[in-house]
Amino acid sequence: MIRLAGVNKTYPTGSGPVRVLRDVDLTVTAGERVGILGRNGAGKSTLIRLISGAELPSSGLIERDMSVSWPLAFGGAFQGSLTGLDNLRFICRIYGVDPADKIPFVADFSELGIYLREPVKTYSSGMRARLAFAISMIIEFDCFLIDEIIAVGDARFHEKCNHELFVKRGDRAMIIVSHNAAYIREHCSRAAVLVGGELHSAPSLDEAFAFYDQQTALAA
C-alpha cells in the first residue's frame, strides 16, 4: 500500500513561497491502477516525485510498504559521456541487480544494437527514449510510477511498451499522471484530478473525467 496523508509541497521563488500541493490524500493498494489527471502546471510531476521518494514533502505523511519505481519515462538520467551499457550497469548497481542477466533484454528491446556501446550523447531523442524505457523494465517493482509515458517513440514501439508494461506487468499497482484523459481511461481503474495543487478523488472514472472536462472548460 502507498498512503499519502495531508501532503503539502512549497517551493521558494523570487516572489515568495509557492504552494504547489495542498493537503493531498491518496491511498493506492496492491495491484490498483490509479490515474491522476491534471493540466500543465497542476503539480503532477511534483506529486509523482514525492510518491517516488526522490523529493521530500514540506509537510505531511508518505507511507510505502511496497517497492515503488522511480518516475518512469523521464528522459533518462543518463550521463551523456557514458555508453548506454555503462548507464545500464549503473542503474543495476544502484538497485543491486546483476547487469549480465539484463543486457540481452535491453539490447533486444531498445533495438540499439551496436549503439549500446556508444556514448549516450550521440543518440537521437528516440534512441534515448527507447533506452530509458528498456532500462525502466529491468528492475521489478510492486508499483510503477508513470509520468506521461505516452511521449515514447513511434506507434510500433509505443505498442511494445504498452505490452511490456500493461500486459506483462498487469498485476502491479500503477500510478499514471497525464493530461490525456483517453490514456488514463485505457489503463486505469480509478482516477483523481489535480487542480491548483488540490487532489480531487472521484468515485468513478466517468465522474473524474466529467470533473476534469469541467475544470478544463472553466480555465479556457
Binding site: 510505502r64 510498504d65 557514458l82 544502484i94
Partner: protein, 268 residues
Amino acid sequence: MALERHSAGVTLAQSWQVQRRVIWALILREILTRYGRHNIGFVWLFLEPMLFTLGVTALWTATKSIHGSNLPIVAFAITGYSSVLLWRNMPSRCVGAIAPNLGLLYHRNVRPLDIYASRLVLEAAGAGMSFVFLVLFFHFIGLLDLPEDLLQVAAGWLMLAWFGVGLALLLGALSEFYETVEKLWHPASYLLFPLSGAAFLVDALPSEAQRYVLMLPMVHGVEYLREGYFGSAMIAHYDIGYMAAWNTLLTLLGLAQTRRVSMTVVPE
C-alpha cells in the same frame, strides 16, 4: 514536520548495505566520467596529484625554498603538498557537485550525501595513493628516508583527510544555497595554501606569528604528520585535540547542511 515511513521493516544493516551499493556505483561512474576507459584511465586518479606534488617538489628544490629547517626539501615538499591536496581538492570537488548529478536523484536511494561521499572517497584515495607512491619512489632512488613513525604519519594524514571531509561537506552543501561560496572558495584556498603549514615549519616562525598560524586547524595536522615522518629532526607544534574539535564541528555542520540540501533539492 514531514514524515517518511517505510513500514516494510528496513533495518539499519539493510540501509547501510544500500548506501554502500549506491556509493560504490557512484564511484565507478565518477571514475568513468572523469577518466574514461581510454588510454591510462583511472591511473589519472593518483597520477594527477603526483604530478602536482612532483612539480612543487621540483620548484622548491630549484629555488632552494626557505622553509626554516634543514630537513631535505624532497621530504618536506611531499609531506607538505600531499596534505594540501586533501583539504583543498576535497572541497573543490564537492562545491557545485549536485547540479551535474540532479538526474540521479530520481532514484530514491541516491541522496546528496552519497554524491559527496563518492567524490570524497575518490579524492582521499587519489591523494593517499599519490603520497604513498611518491614516498616509495623517492625512497628507492635514495632521496628520501622512510617515516620514523608510520602510525603517526597515518594518523596525521587521517586527521587532514577528516578535516577535508568536514570542510568539503560544509562548503559543498552551502554552495547549493549561496553561489558566493564557489566564488570565494577559489581565492580562499589559494590564500590559505601559504599559511597552511605545507611550506614552512611552525618552529621557524617568530612566536607571535606561531600563535596566529596555529589558529588554522590544518597546520596542526601537517606538523603532527611531519613529526611522525622526521621525528627527532624537528620540533613540532600542534594540538591534535584542537584540530579534532574543528573537524568535529565542521563535520556536524556539514552533515546538517547536507541534510538541508536533501530536504529541499528538486530532481531535474
